[in-house]
Amino acid sequence: MTEGRNPILTYLQAISDGLRSEMREDERVLLMGQDIGVFGGAFKVTDGFIEEFGVDRVMDTPLAESGIVGTAVGAAVVGMRPVCEMQFADFVSCGFDQIINVAAKMLYRQGLPVNITVRLPSGGGFSGGPFHSQNPEAWFMHSPGIKVVAPSTAQDAKGMIIASIRDPNPVVFMEHKNLYRRIKGEVPEGSYETPFKARVAREGSDLVVITYGAMVHRALEATEDLDDAEIMVLDLRTLKPLDEQAILAAVRTCSKVVIVDEANETCAAGAQVAALIAEHGFEDLDGPIVRVASPDVPIPFSPPLEEAVLPSVDRVREACRQLLEY
């Protein structure tokens, strides 16, 4: 991104900026999580918040993920707008029941919307091991009543955290840990929303790589200079609901599709994208849908093992090259 009049923020600073902006605008917004107050959060997303907003609105909770989500649901239905932080996305398994059975089904069953946002620091690439590296977004995509978003840029991270808080439904906000300090960009000041729609990260017409989160950057790197091919990268940004129009339009333009997930392959977000294209974009295809994802193994700790599992620049590039030659 070129330097403009807006400040350059990291992806992490952009999330902080969005949270701060929305807390200033809306006194109903309440942050809840483990070590988010005095300590400022395990990743420092809420560093300094307690000084500005106080202990009531930047709540250090007991170590209880089900408790965090369950009490957030209660606070939401009496008019608060809680934003829950799971210290790592992996720990949301301990709060899963409250999201799936209480929050997600409340509106459908009894007409009562549950406005909560659950932030999930997700993803691997730094030897976090099997319990600090997962990408659990598909768990929530499969459960009706939850929106799932996964921004890849600093600008979108801010706009989407604000949009998530304002959305009257439960929103699971996937924030990739590997983007926190590695990705920077120009971020508009003040309050703005990024719509829950896909974004073309780079135009192209020979092949489209459809992906989201950290893999957007991997896809851009892998296809930057690939045998002079014009390669589109489509950043899904929102996984539930999927931006079906944008996906099918990209297939119409490019006819060749590579789908990249950092998540484990079976029933990943990309599997749903592949199914959508097979059902509704088949006539536009000029080759098989190709998927690149982590194999169905826990994310291992040791660097050579983890590198063998997560989709690499080389794997993405090779997949594209083979499909271009098809």
């Binding site: 309440l30 009531d56 609105r57 909770t61 007991p62 209880a64 089900s66 408790g67 989500v69 369950g70 009490t71 957030a72 649901v73 209660g74 606070a75 939401a76 239905v77 009496v78 008019g79 608060m80 809680p82 029941d97 409250q98 059975n101 209480v102 089904k105 409340m106 509106l107 459908y108 069953r109 009894q110 007409g111 009562l112 919307p113 009706p144 009543g145 929106k147 304002r166 959305d167 009257p168 439904n169």
Partner: protein, 363 residues
């Protein structure tokens, strides 16, 4: 009337001669009426179930009417409740209409969930109640969260949640008790000890009575005769005042007995006959009937009136439509531009609220 757990479990079913100062005769009749309405509605629903008009299975609170009726009677309009499947009485006290409840059981469009969920799996947000889910006791945390919001905003309100003896084994019981204790929240936990979780007796559920555990979370636990609506009212009132004064949560163990099976299909062969017979003598409706009859109230006339009301409700519900199949995929997400929907105030019939108008205070 809150007693030690031993006394509550063996307490005699003798009517009290004196009117408690805080309950007028109208209140006492109101308690009886709500219990009668709950029992008569559930009997009618069981009848509809046997006729094949209630899909799935059917769950009721036969014998436990005093717990939810007595507890809900103590709650103000601005208070909020999470109600369990054997607590239909709480919904009635808060103002849910009987025909909508029968429609709910039959999966009809005019039921509270419009056919999206069955039996007492509902909450009418217009009465300040959040419906339960089957995963027990998830709603303990939701009630704790409501109480947390009240405290953060400095409001004079509290939340109440019911759950069973089986629920005390799950992690959410611990998380809610601990959270509420740490933050000293205005929440009332009503543990309905009805002796069995499906077929599992309490001695296979816990080694230490949850009442004793309450103090280890930093707040009191009291054991109450759960078959006495007035005892339930009083214990809940005390807990509510304590909550509003900033004293924090209370755990109330309502000692009662599930007098029907877990659901309509359950023959209860695992319940010892002697235990069942012992509890049959402690019927909460008989007890309250004797109390008000001693003050000249015509209980038989009241029963006839309630029966007529239920028959009318059944006629209305049976005439109502089933939901449109196309509607099955609607209302999964709330539109951004739609009005905000929050829990609203429910009815609060206790004379103490009506005269002080506390029950009608807006937020």
């Amino acid at each position: 009337m809150a007693t030690s757990s031993t006394a509550a479990r063996t307490g005699p079913n003798t009517p009290s001669d004196s009117l408690p100062a805080h309950l007028t005769l109208d209140d006492r009749v109101g308690l009886l009426r709500a219990m009668l309405l709950m029992r008569t509605l559930e009997e009618r629903a069981m009848n509809l179930y046997r006729q094949g008009k209630v899909p799935g299975s059917f769950y009721d609170g036969f014998g436990q009417e005093a717990v939810s009726v007595g507890a809900a009677w103590a709650m103000a309009a601005v208070d909020r409740l999470c109600v369990l499947h054997r607590d239909l009485g709480a919904h009635l006290v808060r103002g849910v209409q009987p025909d909508r409840i029968l429609s709910q059981y039959m999966g009809r469009e005019d039921g509270i969930t419009g056919g999206r969920d069955g039996n007492v799996h509902f909450g009418d947000y217009r009465t300040g109640c959040v419906g339960m889910v089957s995963m027990l006791p998830d709603m303990m945390l939701v009630a704790t969260g409501m109480a947390m919001a009240f405290k953060l905003r400095g409001e004079q309100r509290c939340a109440l949640t019911c759950f069973g003896d089986g629920s005390t084994s799950r992690g959410d019981f611990h998380e809610a008790m601990n959270w509420a204790g740490v933050q000293k929240l205005p929440v009332i936990f009503v543990l309905e000890n009805n002796q069995f979780a499906y077929s599992t007796p309490t001695h296979q559920q816990y080694a230490v009575n949850p009442i004793e555990r309450a103090q280890t979370y930093g707040f009191p636990g009291v054991s109450v005769d759960g078959n006495d609506a007035e005892a339930m009212f009083e214990a809940t009132s005390v807990a509510r005042v304590r909550a509003l004064e900033g004293g924090g949560p209370t755990l109330i163990e309502a000692v009662t007995m599930r007098m029907h099976g877990h659901a309509a299909h359950d023959d209860m062969k695992y319940v010892p006959k002697a235990l069942f017979e012992e509890w049959r003598k402690k019927d909460p409706i008989d007890r309250q009937s004797a109390r008000v009859a001693a003050h000249g109230v015509d209980v038989e006339a009241l029963k006839t009136e309630v029966r007529d009301q239920v028959e009318q409700a059944a006629a209305t519900a049976l005439a109502g439509p089933m939901p449109e199949p196309e509607s099955a995929t609607e209302r999964v997400f709330h539109p951004r531009d739609a009005d905000e929907i929050l829990l609203e105030d429910g009815a609060a019939p206790w004379s103490g609220f009506v005269t002080s108008s506390e029950g009608h205070r807006s937020r």
